[in-house]
Amino acid sequence: MPYLFNKFNLASHRWPVFSRILAATIGGYALATACSLFISQLLLNVVGKYQAIHIGLMLTFIVYACAAIWVFSVESASKAWLGLIKLTLFFTITTWLLMQFTDVIRS
C-alpha cells in the first residue's frame, strides 16, 4: 500500500488521487443509483413498472463506468466531486418532479 501511494507520487499527488478513488466508487455509485431511478420514472408509463426498473438497473453499470472514467479524466478532484454531486442532484430532483407528475395523472 505505501508503495502504491509512493507510486502516485509525492505528497501533493497522494490525496487528490485518493479523493478521486472515493469519488469514483461512492460518488459513481450514487450517481448510477440516481440515474436508474430517473430512467425507471421516465419509462414508467411506457413499458410498465417492473420493466422500467429493470432497464434502469441494467444501465447502471454503463453509467457507473462512464462516471468513473470521467472522474479520472477531469483536471482536479474537486471538479470531479462537484460534477458528480450536481448530476446526482439533478437526477434526484427530476425524478421527484416526475413522481409528482405521475401522481397527478393517476388521480
Binding site: 410498465g48 417492473y50 447502471t60 463506468a65 472514467i69
Partner: protein, 554 residues
C-alpha cells in the same frame, strides 16, 4: 488527471488493470474451464463406465425410470439427464427434502450404468462444478463477500475494457499488426492483438457477469423502488418459469416416460432430447417436462413439452413471455454460459476465454516489462512493489495452471476412503498454489520463470501417465471405445504439457541469447539483432502457449 485525456486514460487503464489483474486471471481461467465442467466431472469420476454407442432414448428413459421408482420413492421432483456430447453417461437427479433450518434440500445426481441399471459408485469429488463455481464463488470466502469482490473486479474489468479501447491509438490500421519484437513493443502488440480480436467477447463476458448479480450490486436502487413482494414479482417477470402442478397426495400409476416421449417427436422434428423433469412423480398430478437442447439464446419456450404423466395428454404450454429487457438480460446470461454451443462452438468459446486469460496475463507482464529497465538501475535493486508484481505474476500466470493440475492429481492419488476427500482435493489445489506464489520470492525472476514453466510441463505431461496407472480409463482403453470425453481430456493434457515445455524452452533460449549478447555486445551488435529474433518469438510464443496451455487444461 494527466495532461490530456489519453494520458490520464492510460494511467487509469494501467492501475485499474494491475490492482485486480490476478483475481481477474483466476476468474477468467477457472471460468474458461467452466465451459467444460461436465466433461471435467466425468473425467474426475473414473469409475463411470465407458460410452455405450447406439442405445435408443426409449431404453435409456426406461432404465432411468426403473431406477427412480426403486430408489427415489417419496421424492417429488425427478430429473433424467440423457447422455450427450458433454457427458456420455446416463444420470438421474433429485432434490432431497430440506433439512430443518435450511431453505432447500441437497441436490444429488447419480450416474447410472446402462448395462446393469444400477448406480455407479464413484469416488467423492466435486469435479468440474467446483472448479467453475470458483470463478464467482471464490471458494473459501462466504457467498456475500465473494459476490462483492467479484463484482468489484468485474467493474474494474469493464473500465479496463472501455479505457483500453480509448487509449488504443490505431485500432483499425493496426488491426492485424503483430510485430514479433523483443521486450516492450512485442508485449504491447500481444496485449493489443489479444484484446482487439476478442473485444466483443471481453465486453459481453464482463457486462453479463455483472448482470448475474444485478439486484445484489444495485441493491440500493432496487430497495428504493420495490418492496419484498414487488421484488419477487419483478424477478418472476424477468425469469419466467414453467408452471407445474403441486402434489395432490393421491397415488396414481404413471405411464412409462419412454411412451410419453413419442409425443414430443411430433413437436420436434429432430431427435435431440436433452433432459426430462418429472413433477409430483407417481401422483395423480404427475407431469413430465421434456426439454431439448437449447436452440435459442433466450431459452426458447418451444424447446419444452409438458405432458400429463397419468393420462398422457400434452398440456398446452403457455409460452414463456419475456419482456424486452428480459430478453436482453437472459440473452446475455445465455451468451455468458454458452449452453447452446455445440462441440466446435464450445471449443471456440473455450479458446476465446483463454484469449481473455492471456490478455490479462500479457497486460500484467507488460507492466513489469515497461518498468524493468528503470527498476534495474536502482542502487538498492528493484522496488518492493515491482518485485511483488513480478512474484505474483510468476506465481499466478504459471502457478495457477499447475495448481489446477494438482487438483486433478489429488483426484487420482488421494486415498478413496479419506474423510472429506472432496474438500481435500480443493485444499491440495490451493496449498500448491500458495507454495508457487511464495516460491518466486526466494528466486530471481529470471530463474523462477523457466523453473515454474518446466514444472508445469512436467506436471501436465505426466498426468495421463498417472491416470493410466491409477485407473482403467486411460488412452489405451478410451481410444478403442471412441470415448472422446476421456480420451480428449488426456490428449489435451499432453498438448498443454507440450505448450508449457515449449514456453520453458523458449524462455531459456531467450535468456541464453541475452547472456551471449551481453558478453559479445561490443563486437557483434549487428549479428545480435539476427540472433535475437528467435527469442522475440520466444517471448510471444511463451505467452501464446501459455494461453493454449490454460485452454487445454480442460
Amino acid at each position: 488527471m494527466k495532461d490530456n485525456f489519453r494520458q490520464s486514460m492510460k494511467w487509469f487503464h494501467t492501475w485499474v488493470g494491475l490492482i485486480v489483474g490476478w483475481i481477474l486471471f483466476f476468474m477468467f481461467l477457472t471460468g474458461t474451464m467452466g465451459y467444460f465442467y461436465q466433461e471435467i466431472t466425468r473425467w474426475m469420476e473414473p469409475e463411470r463406465p465407458f460410452i455405450e454407442h447406439n442405445i435408443s432414448n426409449e431404453q435409456l428413459l426406461d432404465t432411468a425410470q426403473a431406477y427412480l421408482n426403486k430408489h427415489a420413492q417419496g421424492i417429488d421432483g425427478w430429473d433424467i439427464y440423457l447422455p450427450n456430447v458433454r457427458d456420455q453417461n446416463l444420470r438421474v437427479g433429485w432434490r432431497h427434502p430440506a433439512e430443518p433450518g435450511k431453505k432447500r434440500g441437497k441436490y444429488k445426481i447419480k450416474v447410472l450404468d446402462i448395462a446393469t441399471g444400477d448406480k455407479v459408485a464413484s469416488r467423492a469429488t466435486d469435479g468440474g462444478r467446483l472448479l467453475y463455481r470458483m470463478h464467482y464463488r471464490l471458494h473459501y470466502l462466504s457467498t456475500d463477500i465473494s459476490y462483492w469482490i467479484v463484482g468489484f473486479c468485474s467493474m474494474l474489468m469493464l473500465l479496463a475494457v472501455i479505457t483500453g479501447v480509448v487509449i488504443h491509438k490505431k485500432i483499425f490500421s493496426d488491426f492485424f499488426t503483430f510485430r514479433a519484437k523483443k521486450g516492450l513493443p512485442g508485449w504491447l502488440d500481444i496485449h493489443n492483438v489479444l484484446s482487439v480480436i476478442a473485444l466483443p467477447f471481453h465486453f459481453m463476458i464482463t457486462y453479463s457477469g455483472l448482470l448475474f448479480f444485478l439486484f445484489t450490486y444495485m441493491a440500493l436502487s432496487t430497495n428504493l423502488q420495490t418492496n419484498d413482494d414487488e421484488y419477487r414479482e419483478m424477478r418472476k417477470e424477468i425469469y419466467p418459469r414453467t408452471a407445474h402442478l403441486e402434489k395432490a397426495n393421491q397415488p396414481a400409476k404413471m405411464l412409462d416416460v419412454s411412451v410419453l416421449y413419442q409425443q414430443t417427436k411430433t413437436a420436434w422434428q429432430d431427435d435431440d432430447l436433452s433432459y426430462v423433469e418429472m413433477y409430483a412423480a407417481n401422483d395423480i398430478n404427475a407431469q413430465v417436462l421434456f426439454v431439448r437442447h437449447e436452440t435459442d439464446i433466450t431459452y426458447n419456450p418451444a424447446d419444452e413439452v409438458m405432458i400429463n404423466a397419468v393420462t398422457g395428454e400434452v398440456i398446452a404450454q403457455q409460452a414463456k413471455e419475456y419482456t424486452g429487457a428480459g430478453i436482453i438480460h437472459n440473452g446475455f446470461f445465455s451468451l455468458h454460459e454458452g449452453q447452446f454451443a455445440g462441440p466446435l462452438a464450445r471449443w471456440i468459446y473455450f479458446f476465446t476465454g483463454l484469449i481473455g486469460t492471456a490478455m490479462i496475463a500479457s497486460g500484467l507482464i507488460l507492466w513489469t516489462t515497461k518498468r524493468k529497465p528503470q527498476q534495474m538501475k536502482k542502487p538498492n535493486g528493484p522496488d518492493f512493489g515491482y518485485r511483488l508484481v513480478e512474484q505474483l505474476n510468476i506465481g499466478t500466470i504459471v502457478g495457477l495452471p499447475i495448481a489446477i493440475a494438482m487438483y486433478f492429481y489429488a483426484n487420482r492419488l488421494l486415498p478413496l476412503d479419506m474423510v472429506d476427500r472432496a474438500a481435500w482435493e480443493a485444499h491440495v489445489m490451493f496449498i500448491s498454489w500458495a507454495i508457487l506464489l511464495i516460491y518466486p520470492a526466494f528466486r530471481p525472476a529470471a530463474k523462477a520463470w523457466p523453473e515454474q514453466l518446466t514444472l508445469a510441463a512436467l506436471v501436465y505431461l505426466t498426468l495421463p501417465l498417472v491416470n493410466a496407472l491409477t485407473t482403467d480409463k486411460h488412452l489405451a482403453n478410451s481410444l478403442p471405445h471412441q470415448d472422446w470425453n476421456f480420451a480428449g481430456f488426456d490428449l489435451t493434457f499432453l498438448v498443454v504439457g507440450c505448450c508449457f515445455a515449449f514456453a520453458a524452452y523458449k524462455v531459456k533460449v531467450l535468456q541464453a541469447s541475452k547472456r551471449f549478447s551481453k558478453q559479445s555486445s561490443k563486437q557483434s551488435s549487428k549479428q545480435r539483432v539476427q540472433q535475437n529474433k528467435p527469442p522475440v518469438l520466444a517471448a510471444s510464443e511463451s505467452l501464446l502457449s501459455l494461453q493454449q496451455v490454460n485452454k487445454e487444461k480442460c
